[in-house]
């Protein structure tokens, strides 16, 4: 629940962030700012480093240099030194470009597993919880079913995740990410592989989730119609460098973007 006082405040600040693998630079000197409640797009050609930025934000890789700050309830955290599960607890949720569900588990379990971090456990009390978990378990199950209902998956609750059609697996990824109770949601190509009708549904759903749960969203997407439709601001990444940022209209007419992103087609035309 973000109170109205925080609207317009920064939720995420990346300053001079660089990520090197050996001699290879995946992300270099990136500055990015997200304000509470924004829906921001991150676009760029394949291999531009978009997913690397998500990995930096969720603790998969610590930045080689630079600062990643996440602010929630006036508390500023430096994500650079935090472990992935702690970043998740802090309120950053994500989905994956190449779907990474717990494939052999039922749909409902995928969501329940992500929800249960709300009751963190230590090695010692894990066993004690075992014997007093009834009520908490019921609550977790009900909330999971609610999320499945929102994502249109309630009928599939007991199906194994791997048996769902592709579009539904994508929706389950979002349901699972929502179950971690994020305030900042990172969506990595949520519409990849979807047909136009499914994409339109998803676009609507993302807008609804954002309002209902007061989310700030950072979206990686290849589907330009989706990005230009829903995003308020867009960052364009190429070869690990931010080459442009601005409103969708500004981005569409930015010559650097046209060259990097659509370059050859425009040149051919």
């Amino acid at each position: 629940m973000s109170d109205t006082a925080t609207i317009g405040k920064d939720i995420l600040t990346m300053a001079n962030v660089t990520l090197n693998f050996g001699g290879l630079s995946a992300v270099s000197d990136v500055d990015m700012k997200l304000q509470v409640g924004e829906l921001v797009g991150l676009i760029g050609p394949n291999g531009a480093g978009k997913t690397s930025i998500f990995n930096l934000l969720t603790g998969v890789y610590p930045p080689t240099s630079g600062k990643v700050e996440f602010t929630r309830d006036h508390k500023v955290r430096n994500l650079g030194g935090m472990k992935p599960h702690a970043i998740c607890w802090a309120g950053v949720g994500r989905t994956f470009q190449n779907i990474r569900l717990f494939r052999a588990l039922p749909v409902i379990d995928n969501v329940m597993i992500a929800l249960q971090h709300n009751v963190p456990y230590s090695l010692a009390n894990a066993f004690l919880h075992t014997f007093g978990y009834g009520r908490a378990e019921k609550q977790i199950r009900e909330e999971s079913l609610e999320l499945l209902r929102i994502m249109g998956l309630e009928e599939d609750a007991n199906e194994l995740a791997q048996n769902l059609p592709y579009g539904k697996q994508r929706r389950l990824e979002i349901a699972r990410a929502m179950a971690t109770h994020p305030v900042l949601l990172l969506l990595d190509e949520p519409a990849a592989g979807m047909n136009p009708a499914e994409t339109a549904d998803l676009t609507e759903l993302i807008g609804w989730l954002r309002k209902e749960y007061d989310l700030t969203i950072l979206l990686i997407e290849h589907d330009m119609s989706l990005v230009m439709d829903v995003c308020e601001r867009i960052y364009v990444l190429d070869h690990g460098v931010i080459i442009a940022s601005g409103t969708p209209a500004e981005i569409q007419h930015n010559p650097a973007v046209i060259e990097a992103y659509l370059g050859e087609e425009v040149a051919d035309a």
Binding site: C88, R94, L105, D109, I113, Q116, A126, H129, E137
Partner: protein, 293 residues
């Protein structure tokens, strides 16, 4: 009647193997490590039980619980000290480390208690008894072993299927990186897996001592190896596979002894393993999945 006699013997032996095999398979399921020190955790459990009963004069059940608790701690320490630093290295490095941990436990124990076998105290009361049904001799201790094992398996099933720890374990075994990003503390989950698996091995160690009386610092080798066979037999990484494999190994072994192949009973077990793996390389319940690249 001979068949039924072997059946009851196989059932009690298989129960002990099952407890050990569960630890093997759970650890493999979660970090893809064959924990070759697992049999030696059983050995430590047997000695903790022996020490609790002889020196501390505990009763059998108190000794069993003490051994389980001690082994749970030992398992966590082994994981944190020996395996965790190698989590991102090659699997062969972790495997060799496991063998090192195994030898370490064996010879540290030998340093403290000597190489000579120690004897478990004589069974008393109900557990010392036995009865005969139609010529089949059933020792009460066999029933106790089967009963305790089944109880522990039910508790394990409950933990894995119904609790959040169990859910976290299953999530980590599916995709540790995704689990981490969904807020699961993967390090703690792995520690808990080691604790549970080692506690089961500790229980198996005490029951081994109660059944076979004689224990020594190298005793963990054979049961460890058989339980590993059992886990592979059923499909390593799968809990039902470990149970099925363990009882199969128990029965094969006692049947081999029953038909006069006592000397070769271990060889028969391994022969059957080889045959199973030729026919079903992933084990009885395992699915053949292509390695994802």
């Amino acid at each position: 009647m001979e068949v039924f006699q072997q059946l009851i013997n196989g059932l009690s032996l298989g129960s002990i193997y099952a407890l050990i095999a569960l630890g093997y398979t759970m650890v493999y399921g979660i970090i893809q490590l064959i924990n070759f020190a697992h049999g030696d955790v059983l050995m430590v459990g047997a000695f903790v039980g022996w020490f609790s009963m002889t020196t501390l004069h505990m009763n059998v059940f108190a000794a069993l619980v003490t051994a389980m608790a001690a082994c749970a701690m030992l398992g966590v320490i082994i994981e944190r000290v020996a395996y965790k630093p190698l989590r991102n290295s090659t699997r062969i490095a972790a495997l060799i480390t496991a063998i090192g941990v195994s030898l370490f436990l064996e010879y540290v124990m030998m340093y403290f208690v000597g190489a000579n076998p120690k004897a478990y105290p004589d069974l008393t009361g109900f557990m010392a008894g036995s009865f005969t049904i139609h010529g089949v001799i059933i020792k009460n201790i066999q029933l106790v072993i089967i009963g305790i094992s089944v109880l522990l398996m039910i508790i394990l099933q409950f933990i894995v299927q119904r609790t959040r720890v169990g859910k976290a374990m299953r999530a980590v075994s599916q995709d540790a990186d995704a689990a981490r990003l969904m807020g699961i503390n993967v390090d703690n989950t792995i520690s808990i897996t080691f604790a549970i698996g080692s506690a089961l091995a500790g229980a198996a160690g005490v029951m081994w001592g109660l059944y076979y009386i004689s224990i020594n610092p190298l005793m963990g080798l054979m049961p460890g190896l058989k339980a590993f066979v059992a886990a592979v037999f059923g499909g390593i990484g799968l809990i039902p596979g470990a149970l099925l494999g363990a009882y199969a190994v128990g029965f094969i072994e006692t049947i081999a002894k029953g038909v006069g192949l006592s000397t070769y009973s271990d060889a028969v077990v391994f022969l059957v393993l080889i045959l199973i793996l030729i026919i079903k390389p992933a084990g009885l319940l395992g699915k053949n999945t292509k390695e994802k690249v």
